[in-house]
Amino acid sequence: MSFFSRSPWILHYDGSSCNGCDIEVLACLTPLYDVERFGVLNTGNPKHADILLVTGSVNERNIEIVENLYRQMPDPKVVVAVGACACSGGIFARAYNIQGGIDKVIPVDVYVPGCAARPESIIDGVVQGIAALEAKRKKTA
């Protein structure tokens, strides 16, 4: 499959999610869905990553971690918010420790709704993220 000219790498960070969306992100890497078909690789190092996949919302504690990871990623970079929690706070928006969606802290490019977001939606989101990345790259080049 070669309709993407590059192979973007993904960094996954779990904000205060319930695990549901993280597992679905991991499920995307497993044989049935296999996002590696798109040349996408899951990495643990922010300096290697092009796409930041965030699940779960931000709370008082992890705000700086999310900011940190985002800052360390090289430009151009894209943020994909996965799940209702990451998009807007979801069901936890009314919890006292939750600040809201990821877009309260860093600019989000793609919103993947659902609770839990299905692997198919996550793949759609990643594909949109790759498109956004290409667009940004053109702009900076």
Partner: protein
């Protein structure tokens, strides 16, 4: 199978080599959803009587209903697809479709800070004669996104 080399993964690996791949090539090969899967909330503006029950019972507070302005709105990004609103609506205006929600982009953020995934319906009040719907006021199409 006797396995003198103590490499128990070998039979499995050989079997996998000849069987067909487990991967579903997603964007090109889409498996239909199971009937009864919980996907997206769909709304029928014609039948709703703005009783606000769905908004009160929604655990994620994703629905806002205004009886005065006769608007019904849902944040698709907040909805957790629990199905409570579908159960409580006595007018059966709400239904749960099996399709998962669409992915939204930042470009959809509206001018007034309207969030992507915000869907709003508005139905003008029926004519003062109180004869419903036949007055021939077609509901405006749902304004999607911003």
């Amino acid at each position: 199978m006797p396995n003198p080399l103590k490499l128990p993964m070998i039979p499995r690996a050989l079997r996998n080599l000849v069987s067909k791949p487990a991967t579903r090539r997603y964007p090109f090969e889409i498996r239909p959803r199971f009937a009864g899967a919980r996907g997206t909330i769909e709304f029928d503006v014609e039948t709703c009587n703005y009783c606000m029950l769905c908004a009160r019972r929604c655990p994620a507070a994703a629905i806002t209903v205004s009886r005065e302005e006769r608007t019904w709105a849902i944040e698709q990004l907040t909805c957790i697809a629990c199905g409570v609103c579908v159960d409580v609506c006595s007018k059966h205006s709400l239904s749960m479709s099996v399709n998962s929600r669409a992915v939204h982009l930042r470009s959809e953020v509206g001018p007034q800070g309207q969030r992507p995934g915000h869907e709003e319906w508005h139905k003008p009040a029926p004519a003062a004669t109180d004869i419903p719907a036949v007055a021939g006021v077609p509901a405006p199409a749902a304004s999607q996104g911003a």
